[in-house]
Every structure is written in C-alpha cells, then in structure tokens.
C-alpha cells in the first residue's frame, strides 16, 4: 500500500491539493479585493501607492517598543517565518519540486544551513505554542483554528526534518506523510487564518495607503 499511497500523494493528491489551494486562494483574495472601498474625497498629502508599497515591506519589522511578551512573539515569529521560508525555498529537494512544477530553479543552500533553519523553525513553533497557552492575551484570542493551523504548519516541518535526518519511520512512510501534510496545509490554507500568507500584503498595502495618502512616512 505504501507505494500506492506515495504515488497518490505525488500525483492525484497533489493535483487536488493544488486545485483547492489555487481556487480557494484566488477566490478569497479576489473576492476580498472586489468588495472595494470608497476612495477618499479629501485632498491627498501624499501617495497611496508609495505608502502602501512601503508598508508592505516595512511592516516586516516592528518599530514599536514592546513588552517582554511582545518581544518574544516578534522574535519567535521572525525565527519561525525565516526558518520556514529558508527551509521551503532553499532545500535542494524543494527546489527540484519547484523546477518540476514552475520550471524555475535557483541554487540550494548547504544541508547544514537547512538543518539549522528547520530546527529553528520547529523550536520557534513549539515556543509559540507554549506561549499561546501561557500568555493571557493569546489564550483569550485563540480559538480552535489557531491550534489547527499550528498543527498544519508544524507537521510538514516535523516530517520533513525526520525525513532528512532518518528519524522514526522509513523513508517512504515519511515522504508520504511529509507530502500529505503539505497537501493538508494547502487545502486548509485558503479557508483558515493561513490565508494571511497572501492577505497580509493586501492588509499592509491598505494600512500603508491610508498613511501614504496623509503623507505619513511610517
């Protein structure tokens, strides 16, 4: 069965996941944008676009002074996102996938770097989960989705790391689990807060546009 399952997740499963992800994400983002907004009739003091684009980038770094809990969230969040993206985009095996699907490829990072990035991402996620349980603010804000999306993001990292490091199960089982976990992530992404992977940039643009319009450079 394991070969058939691997074949399924590499073929039909991936097609289904990709289809749901793309339909869902395109729908969600476009639907959101098409809700529209009223253009301000006030006299602008600056440009919406320059402010919007600026914030899309600048908001990756928090400039506000934070408390210890806030700094923890920012640092752990940063480590997780960086670790996740380095692992996702710079592991040779992943680049081989992008090359096969998109036709694009780029140099991989050495395995030692990927090991570090994956471990950092995993560690940061665990820390963030614990913090979500412990921190009163996060505990109050959290609903089932926060834990679901945590698990959905964590599994690909964990199974991927186990696969690279030969931990636990055999290669086929882990590869199947790894791909399947990514597919679950793809399927869930458009319908959960994971959609922030794209909407964040829309949100930042809108936020920045308001400031840009008013000529506030932040």
């Amino acid at each position: 069965m394991e070969q058939e399952m691997l074949l399924w997740v590499r073929g039909t499963g991936l097609q289904i996941a990709a289809a749901v992800f793309v339909v869902g994400m395109v729908y969600r983002m476009l639907h959101l944008l098409l809700l529209g907004r009223k253009m301000s009739l006030a006299q602008p003091r600056g440009s919406e676009w320059s402010g919007g684009l600026r914030t899309m980038w600048r908001r990756s770094f928090v400039s506000t002074k934070l408390s210890a809990r806030g700094n923890f969230t920012v640092i752990a969040g940063f480590i997780f996102h960086i670790g996740f993206f380095v692992t996702l985009f710079f592991l040779g095996q992943h680049i081989a996938l992008f090359r096969a699907v998109l036709g694009l490829h780029w140099p991989a990072l050495p395995r030692g770097v990927i090991d570090i990035s994956a471990v950092l991402a995993i560690g940061a996620m665990v820390a963030l989960l614990v913090h979500r349980f412990v921190d009163p603010v996060k505990r109050l804000l959290s609903d089932y989705q926060d834990y679901l999306t945590w698990a959905l993001s964590f599994l690909p990292l964990l199974t991927g790391f186990m696969l690279l490091r030969k931990i636990g199960f055999d290669y086929i089982t882990l590869l199947t689990l790894h791909i399947a976990s990514v597919e679950m992530l793809l399927v869930a992404a458009p319908f959960t807060k994971l959609a922030h992977m794209f909407s964040t940039f829309i949100s930042r643009w809108y936020n920045g546009a308001v400031n840009g319009f008013k000529g506030i450079n932040i």
Partner: protein
C-alpha cells in the same frame, strides 16, 4: 430611524469593505496589538486587546462575506451577534479605545485596527449601544452647536475679551478672507487665550482671516460616537460657512479629532470634495515660519516637552511642524521617550473624555503618560490639542504632578517679535 440591533447589524454589513475583509482575513491572533494599547499595558487585562474589541464585527464579516461563514450560518452553526453581546462590548469599543491608532502601527500583518473600530462604532451607535456621555455630547453638538454647550454669545464675549487684551480687531464673518479659523469648544470655553494669540500672530504675519458666526465649532462628536450621519451634519455647518464666506482655507483648531473630522473625513462625510483646503493651525504657523512671516524674539528657558496628539501625528501626519516651532522659542525642549508617531495617547481621545463612565479607567491608564513625563523631568508640557490639554491637566492633578500645560500656538504668540508687526509681507 430608531436604533435597533437590526439597524446596527445592517450598518455594520454596510461598513465592511475590502480593507476590513483583508484585515480580518490576515489576523493571526498574535496579540501584539495589546502591547501597543495603553488600556492593556496599564491594566494588564487581556480583554482590552485591540483586535478583540472587534469580535462582533469579525463574526459578522465571517457570516456575511466568507464562503464557510455563510455556509455555517445557513446550517445554523454560527453564533449570531446579539444585543447582550453588544452591551458587553460597548465599554470595550468606547471606554477603552481613544482611536489613538498605535495598534494599527504595530500590527505585523498590517491591520489598521483603528480604521475598523471607527466602523464598529457606526454599528454600535445604530444599534443603540453608545455611552450616555457621548450621546449627550453629540446631542448638544447637534442641538446647541457645541458639545460643551458654548454658543455664539459665548464666542462673542471671548472675542470682545481678546480685542480688549490685544488692542486688535478679531475678524468675524469677513467675506473673501483667505483663511477661516475654526475653534474647539474647549478653546471657546476655557483656553480662550488662543483667540488673542492667533489674532496677534496673523496680524504680524499679515494673514487675511476670519471667524464665522455659523461655523466656529470644530469639535465633532459625531466622529467620536461613530455616526457618519451626525458627523456630516456637524461638518456641513463649517463647510456652509466657508462657502458663504468664500475662503480659500479652513484652519483646523488645536484639536486632534476636529482635524481628522475636517481634514480627512469631512469631504467623505458630505460626499463631495471641499472647495477649500483644510490646514491645521500648527501647519499654518510652520508655513509662516519657513516663509519668514512668523518672527519670534526671546526664548523661554524652561525645560519643556511636547505631547503629540494622536490625531495629529499617527493619524494626521503633522510631525515635524510643531518641533520646528518649539525650537524657535524653547532651547530646553526635550523629547519624551517614544515621542512622535509612537507617542502615547493622553487617554481621553476618541470621545473617552466625554464619557463619564470611563473616567476611572482613564485615570488609571494615565500612568503611561506619567511614566513618559517622569523620564524627562520637565516643568512645562506643550501640546496642540485642547482635549489633550484638558486630559493632561486632569491627569497631572490626579497624580499630584506640578507641571504646567500650555498650547503651542499660545507659546509662539508669547514670543512674537513686536517690532516685526506689520513689517512682514
């Protein structure tokens, strides 16, 4: 219409737009906005987390504008927004939010939370869940012309007083003037030195200006309570007066929310662009300074700091201008920590000052401002918003702090170069 839950819900559905949908989609419940909100930092109570103040609106968005939400609503699995819930949320949306916008600055996914609180209030007031204090203020603004109950007679008395003090004429209803000055009710009622101050400055700088008997009140309680309908009515009075007097500019007073109401929301409220420009008094003074029309002499050696009103910095973009003016006259001007766009609110913006119920909470959270002030050890705080000024005075008194509070325009006027009078232009 009469207020009802359904009206509130309909209003909120109408308020939800692309940015709102994007913001709710993006929130990852990281809780960073709590750190930016003085109601959380000073109380440690997680219920004051800014994004949570929007929970009813978020659910409404989910139920009305998302695929799964609609489905859940159809099969009856979603939790509807109720009157009881909105009652519970009223203190969160009004008492513990000054619309200061710090949360919008910190949010890592870029959510403009205060943009949504403003919208949320539209639904709250339409559903009858606005605080009594704000309702009263708004009612007075609509019916009497000012939330504090000042009227034209009060203004005229103050004009007379100022004319006597300065020996100059205060122009009223002068058609064809370049600038029409609007005041805040606190300025008419309490900080009336401002009238004399601008009269002297404009005389020196040779600015053609006027007050309007039918459009002098800049404070907009409609914005604070969150009703665009009522805010439009209040802004409309200023617009009509400006159009009647055919002025080129309307000067927003030293009042943060008045500036937001006039400068950024006004045209949208009345549904058309203004035929005049809106400028804050501080912006104008800085323009006069840079063009050499505003000249000062002598300095005030007192150790001073400047309190940035939220609606002027974060939400208004008037950041450098007050500092330029401060440097003209105050060599011992020091900045508080986190001054500028990150400055902490006085605690009374966004209608909180008009909401008596919120007073204990407002006093509690003044500890943040106190800490900022303790760090610089000044004798005087200068600010450019009469509401901030009142809140600072109140907070300083409650905390037995001996610091003087003055308006920036007045500070500049005190050091106006007498010999320059009439020589400008």
């Amino acid at each position: 219409m009469s207020t009802s839950l359904q009206n509130g819900i309909n209003t909120l559905i109408g308020q939800i737009d692309a940015p709102t949908a994007s913001f709710f989609t993006s929130c990852v419940h990281c809780g960073l906005c709590a750190d930016a909100c003085l109601f959380y930092t000073e109380t440690g109570d997680p219920k004051y987390t800014p994004i949570r103040k929007l929970e009813p609106m978020r659910r409404l968005w989910q139920q009305e504008y998302t695929f799964w939400g609609k489905l859940m609503k159809k099969v009856g699995l979603s939790k509807p927004v109720t009157d009881a819930e909105l009652t519970e949320w009223e203190p969160l949306v009004y008492d513990s939010c000054t619309l200061c916008g710090r949360c919008s600055l910190v949010c890592p996914v870029g959510n403009d939370i205060v943009y949504m609180v403003r919208k949320m209030r539209e639904g709250m007031v339409a559903s009858g869940h606005a605080p009594e204090g704000l309702k009263g203020a708004t009612q007075r603004a609509i019916e009497l012309g000012s939330p504090m109950g000042v009227n034209l007679n009060t203004l005229k008395a103050q004009i007379k007083h100022a004319e006597k003090e300065t020996g100059l004429t205060v122009p009223l209803d002068v058609e064809g003037a370049d600038y029409m000055m609007v005041l805040s009710s606190a300025e008419v009622a309490e900080y009336n030195d401002i009238i004399g101050a601008v009269t002297r400055i404009f005389k020196q700088a040779n600015v053609s200006w006027t007050l309007a008997s039918d459009g002098f009140e800049g404070t907009n309680s409609g914005i604070q309570i969150g009703s665009s309908d009522l805010a439009a009515e209040l802004v409309g009075r200023i617009v009509r007066a400006a159009e009647r007097l055919k002025v080129k500019y309307v000067i927003s007073p030293e009042c943060g929310h008045a500036f937001t109401a006039l400068r950024w929301e006004g045209p949208n409220l009345i549904g058309r662009p203004f035929p005049f420009k809106v400028i804050h008094i501080i912006e104008l003074l800085d323009e006069l300074r840079s063009s050499g029309r505003l000249k000062t002499e002598g300095v005030d050696e007192t150790r001073m700091t400047f309190h940035d009103p939220c609606q002027m910095v974060r939400r208004g973009g008037v950041i450098e201008q007050p500092r330029n003016l401060m440097h003209m006259v105050a060599p011992n001007f020091v900045e508080m920590p986190e001054a500028g766009v990150q400055n902490w609110c006085c605690g009374g913006g966004g209608g909180v000052s008009a909401n008596e119920r919120a007073n204990p909470l407002r006093n509690q959270v003044f500890s943040r401002k106190k800490a900022q002030l303790d760090a610089v050890n000044v004798q005087t705080i200068v600010t450019s918003c009469s509401n901030c000024r009142s809140m600072l005075l109140d907070g300083l008194e409650n905390n037995h702090m001996d610091i003087e509070v003055i308006g920036l325009t007045e500070l500049v006027a005190e050091h106006l170069a007498d010999n320059a009078e009439g020589k400008a232009s």
